[in-house]
Amino acid sequence: MNKRRHSTKWYFLQMGYYAFMILVAIIMAFPIYFALISSVKGNTEIFSNPFVPTVSPVFENYPRAIKTGHIDKSFFNTIYITLSAVLIAMLSGAMASYILAKFRFRGRAFIYVFVVAGMMIPIQTIIIPLAFYLGKLGLFDNHPALILLFTAFQIPMTVFVVTGFMKGFPHEIEEAAVIDGATHSRTLFMIIIPLSAPALVSASIFNFINIWNNLLFPLIFIRSAEKQMLALSLQSFFAERGSDYGGVMAAIVISITPTILAYVMMQERVEMGLMAGAVKG
């Protein structure tokens, strides 16, 4: 049957398949297309013709959004906070995972389950006590405190993925290192962590996207516009200047660009990283 000419029915099926997929693709891409074309339109033009790009683009929306919405400051705050939390979660997670994957001591299984169970904690459940204690300690508007908070919620996933990966390492790896006289720390940082790079990268991508997109923590713990994170700056820009549609659209485009770029550049890795929580990485 391999070289037979295709029937008319086959061609209709093919066409139907692609017509359907293209329709879904349009629905998926439209909101982003809408944000892009609207971000260079004047306020009235955005809704008078939402479907086609403008013939006379205006770029003032961007500087205005950046200035009044503090988008530039919160953009860099978000990069700083996200990267720091991802790094601390990666390091502390790798250290703990190494112990949980390879070492023998009483209570190991319990500690593993205890940490991994943290994936089930809804952050809403702990927001009131955290606000209570951070307020008491005067730690609102405090970036290091926020970084550690984010870290705490990324550790369970990181340990889950990385421990699973390290369990597959043969003992011979460390035997060679021990014969060479390497200490535990040296073995961990020079041998185990580099070998775990695939799992660490997957977990870190997952953590990065989660923190970058988080709304609730900055909503509660950051009060000043100067220290704010991107998701919330965007939300409050809309709340305060909701009728500046062009500005809101420009702010949206700025906030989605990094994640879109990251996804386009490392598509497979991002998909794997995001799935790592669902299916062992």
Partner: protein, 296 residues
């Protein structure tokens, strides 16, 4: 080597950073949250806390607002479960046929998953704008369905489903990729031999494919149910629980009770409810979906 793997000092030293951060900032607050739910105090700081026993839970269960939020979250979960599974796994089946160009489609369908929910929620808000401003209403005008036009997020009848659909748009790509991975893992031989046995189309899907991807689907169900239970961002940005509470879910209600009206005790009671409900729903889902696993 035994010595290497049982060095107590190293065990402690390496576990400590992760455990201190995790216990201090994630586990301990849960315990505190339960404790707080038995107290009432009307301000975050400098206000005396009064022990009120089960009163917070009492007023929570007597509150019509709370029950409306529970009804809303169940509806939100149901819409997301049904549509995200059907669209996600349906597209996964279509993509798994590996026709030319499927990679491009997969990329486009998945990318809303990585976008910040705040941004997508705002975009959908523009799409749902009322009158002839909103993109959806203009689309309805263009295709001659003017009668369906409404203020999607202002109308109490449509607001919750409108938000749910926006959430479906942002999320189904994730389950599509889980489903796609599961379908790709089915050995070709199984499909071929089932075709030789005469199984095609739906028959093949329900008796061969579905059992093979059941474990992945179970993960999708659990993630969707617990994720929808905890959802806060999209509702907060799109409707703030309005109009008139029509889109409040327990997590937004908790935020407003605690941080807007200073009812921290009641807020804590609601957050304990969210925690217990998501654990119970996850457990129930796993139990209901338990079946013989398929070996191949």
């Amino acid at each position: 080597m035994d010595q290497y793997y049982s060095n107590k000092r190293i065990v402690l030293l390496f576990l400590l950073p992760a455990l201190v951060i995790y216990v201090g900032l994630a586990v301990y607050p849960i315990v505190q949250s339960i404790v707080f739910s038995f107290y009432e105090w009307n301000g975050l700081q400098g206000v005396p806390m009064e022990y009120v026993g089960m009163n917070n839970f009492g007023s929570m269960f007597r509150s019509a607002k709370f029950w409306l939020s529970v009804k809303n979250v169940l509806q939100f979960i149901a819409v997301n479960l049904i549509f995200q599974i059907i669209i996600g796994y349906g597209l996964a089946v279509l993509l798994a046929q590996n026709r030319p160009g499927f990679k491009i489609f997969k990329t486009i369908f998945f990318f809303p998953v990585v976008l910040p929910l705040t941004a997508t929620a705002l975009l959908w808000k523009f799409i749902y704008f009322p009158n002839n401003i909103g993109v959806l209403n203009q689309l309805l005008n263009a295709i001659g369905l003017e009668s369906l036009k409404t203020g999607w997020l202002i109308n109490t009848k449509t607001a919750l489903n409108a938000v749910s659909i926006a959430n479906v748009w942002t999320g189904f790509g994730y389950h599509m990729v889980i489903g796609f991975a599961a379908l790709s893992a089915i050995p070709d031989g199984i499909m071929e031999s089932s075709m030789i046995d005469g199984a095609t189309g739906f028959r093949q899907f329900f008796s061969i494919t579905l059992p093979m991807i059941w474990e992945s689907m179970k993960i999708s169900f659990v993630l969707l149910i617990t994720g929808s239970m905890k959802n806060f961002d999209i509702i907060f940005v799109m409707t703030e629980g309005g109009p008139n509470g029509a889109t409040h879910v327990p997590s937004t209600l908790m935020y407003y009770e605690a941080f807007k009206y200073d009812h921290y005790g009641l807020g804590s009671a609601i957050s304990v409810f969210i925690f217990v409900a998501s654990l119970a729903l996850a457990g129930l889902t796993i139990r209901l979906m338990r079946r013989e696993s398929v070996e191949y």
